[in-house]
């Protein structure tokens, strides 16, 4: 078991009323799964992803990640856990505009305090693997959307996370680019990386091993 959510609730209070973003979510994810989260806009897909990714908190329930209880550990510890095991991929890539491709890839390693020589080797390896060696000194603005997302995924992967969380990774791409990214995810999953993606597309979801449907914050 990689992670387990037990009866997770998340809400906001608005005008004296409690609006539920997540309602009684229970979910177990095993290592090596490729899960697609689907549902209409506002159904809580991204919120769920952020909760799993520890970027966002929740109001009720339990969350176990590996052997740790996320709901009861301290902020700093949680950050370490997150840094160690989780990589994020965003719809709009979210690369750092002021950094080159190479530097963007290096960034997570810096935060994990890898040594200079190690960082170099890992970045070179990743550039090679994604076939973007030629682009290493370009800035994000000089790349196409597909290429930017490739860099985004490479950055998420570089510190060898157990879990990749992807929030509509192909949402801003054309279909060919989307296919390429999905193929890449499939390949990563085959290599043993657990992936949870949020998507609108049935076709993308079909790449996964399991589909979770959300509606108004509830699993259906």
């Amino acid at each position: 078991m990689l992670l387990q959510l037990n009866n997770i609730f998340k809400w906001v209070n608005s005008g004296g009323q409690r609006i539920f973003l997540l309602k009684d979510i229970s979910l177990t994810v095993e290592e090596g799964e490729f899960i697609s989260v689907m549902g209409p806009s506002g159904s809580g897909k991204s919120t769920l992803l952020n909760v799993i990714g520890m970027l966002d908190g929740f109001d009720e329930g339990e969350y176990h990640f590996l052997d740790e209880s996320v709901h009861s550990i301290k902020e700093k510890h949680r950050a370490n856990l997150y840094k160690e095991y989780i990589g994020f991929v965003f719809q709009s890539y979210h690369l750092l505009d002021e950094l080159t491709v190479k530097e963007n890839l290096e960034m997570p390693l810096l935060y994990k305090k890898f040594k200079g020589s190690e960082r170099k080797a890992m970045v070179a390896d990743m550039l090679d693997r994604f076939n973007i060696v030629g682009k290493k000194d370009l800035f994000p603005a000089q790349l196409s959307g597909g290429q930017q997302q490739l860099v985004g995924i490479a950055r998420a992967l570089i510190s060898n996370p157990k879990l990749i969380l992807a929030d509509e990774p192909t949402g801003n791409l054309n279909s060919a680019q989307g296919e390429e990214i999905m193929g890449l995810f499939k390949q990563l999953n085959d290599e043993g990386v657990t992936i949870i993606q949020v998507t609108h597309s049935e076709k993308n979801a079909s790449h996964g091993s399991r589909i979770i449907n959300l509606l108004d914050g509830r699993m259906i």
Binding site: D56, A79, K83, E98, Y111
Partner: protein, 799 residues
Amino acid sequence: MLKNYIKIAWRNLTKNKSYTIINIGGLALGMAVALIIGLWIQDELSHDDYFEKKDEIAQVMQSQTFNNLTGTGPAIPRPLEMAFRESYMDNFKHLAMSSWTNSQYLKYKDNSISRDGNFIQKDAPEMLDLKILSGEKDGLRELNSIMLAEKTAQALFGSEDPIGKVIKVNSQYDMMVTAVYEDIPFNTSFYDAHFLMPWEKYVTTQEWVNNAEDQWGNNSFQMFVQIAENTSMEKITAAIKDVKKNLNEDTEEFNPQLFLLPMKDWYLRSKFENGKRVGGRIKYVWLFGIIGAFVLLLACINFMNLSTARSEKRAKEVGIRKSIGSQRKQLINQFLSESFLVVLFAFTIAVFVVLLSLNGFNELARKEIEFPWSNLSFWLMSLVFILLTALLAGSYPALYLSSFRPVDVLKGTFKAGKHAGTPRKILVVFQFTVSVAFIIGTVIVMQQINHAKNRPIGYDRAGLVQIPTFSQDFSGKYDLIRSEFLGSGAAIEMSTSSSPTTRIWSNRSGFIWDGKPEGFQEDLAWTAVSTEYAKSLNLKIVAGRDFSREFASDSNAVLLNETAVKYMGIIDPVGKFIKDDSDEDPEEPLKIIGVVQDMIAQSPYEPVKQGMYVFDKYENASYYNLRLNPKQSAQQNIAIIERVFKEHFPNIPFQYDFVDEQYGKKFAAEERIGRLSGIFTALAILISCLGLFGLTSFVAEQRTKEIGVRKVLGASVFNVWNMLSKDFLKLVVVSCFIAVPIAYYVMNGWLQEYPYRVILEWWIFALAMIGAMLVTVVTVSFQAIRAAKTNPVKSLRTE
């Protein structure tokens, strides 16, 4: 990691050039001001540090009380020396009597110069630890010896070795050079001691000094001491306090109190009011320190405001960094290193600015400050200064920016909350409060100076020239010289006086007159003048008559000024007599022949002092006063006067001063403050405006979409301009209302020091407020109008 931070910071800086220029430029200006003020304060605080025994040296001071008013000064009577040497010497390691620093004529072969210097007792070179370049340190042992400062020796002897050579002083006596000492630096109390001669020479050559040996009432000398090792200034003061008072009935009068003023307080803390020490120049050290700190703070506020204003642009970066594993601490570090980089940059520019402006500043502040390149502690302080500034300017943005939640900012829905701009507004209000207060302060200082300058001074100072006549050569020649000068056509009137027109050198008491109130302790300014004094100065006679050559009896005549008549309480003074209260006095009583208009001889901020002008029957004049011929140019007149002067006094260097220039020097201190605070005010406003400019551009950018929508809905350029300007104008109005009472309080306090002062009028405050608002509107309008003119299609398309 640091490299990475710096890389990002660098790229951010080069990407937003206008932002960078405003930020670094503003900060550099602020730091330059802080640096210059820092150097100035350092110079002030290190005054007299040249003397290694600074902590042990003191001057003996005396307080005396006349009519319940206590005056304090360094002037002491000569017999005090013997009293100390006989009974109190175990308190002192060294003791040195000294004359005032006076100008003397020094002549070697055909080379004659005039220099300031002291007659002082032989312990002085040891006490002051003068750096002897050649000759002996104990150079004042012999009666006919003189020690010269390096530059003075050079001026007299050129490349010759001065030691053992004989120079003529005041064409009167020969002195042998026994030592040359290093020039005493400018920021010391003895900077103008260009030579030292033995005290004994002073006593033997000046009859009045000789006579003063046992005159306890003749306070005309100075005494410096170095205290013994096992005691303290306070202990000695306690011991010597009443030495003069307890002597006899005569000295008891005026309640003389003696005390030591330590050398470390001479320069900064030597102002006394009614017997109590009330600070002194230290006030200005504080004042400028505060100004410097404020200007720097204003620049730091710009940095904070612009950084936080740009927060929406940096928010995404913060989100991404957090989502790929950055901790908040690391983000704080990143933003702080960015701020450090900016500050370091600004500091480098500030150093350049300081280097470029140091000469001008020295002239303005009358200083000789050099840039302390080789001073390690300066660089250490600078480093601390940079770090502190970086922390001050960067901590708020660092804490604010790093607090963003990645979920919020990455969703793209991040909007700074309703109150996010509040701290920014408060800081802007603070900036403009300081600026407006500075404006008001400067205007009032300027006004006060002008007020005093425009005060009628009682005589005509334009076209009046004074020539010092300290040497014996001048005695007995007055009538001859006068007819020569008048005959040459360069002067239309001439007189002599015992004090310069712009000073009072002598005050006397111990008179009796009809109707003098019982127990009245008078204190009168005393000037000995020649017959034509009033005529040459265009000083008006308001009652009686002027001195006249036709009355031989005028040698015992006196003129009073108007204040003296009121002060002494004499009704119908003309024809009455003033007598010395001692019966043994051989002089005849002085007959009051007339009353002259009050003339300002001392501070233009104080009431005119009661004074008497007596006929100078001994020709003891210190100055010639010449009324130049108005039909010729001043240069022509001076050239003729110089020629005549040289004919009669070939051994004496020709020196002269225009009285109006001398009078102008009375305003020097206030004018310096006025000019400096004017400059700092201008810089403070400039820095605040830079910040405002940057801020408006960001606000305009933030509201691009809103402006677009408004324009589509029919808003005019004026509407948009109005909308953007109003917000800032409101802040400035708030600032004005905070600044006005503060400025009023502070400036009112400052003005209290001047008995003759300007009245604070409401329009000064109104002017400052309108000025600040005008500057704001102009600054804001640049951006506002540009934003208002943008085509809405463009700004809406970017969404």
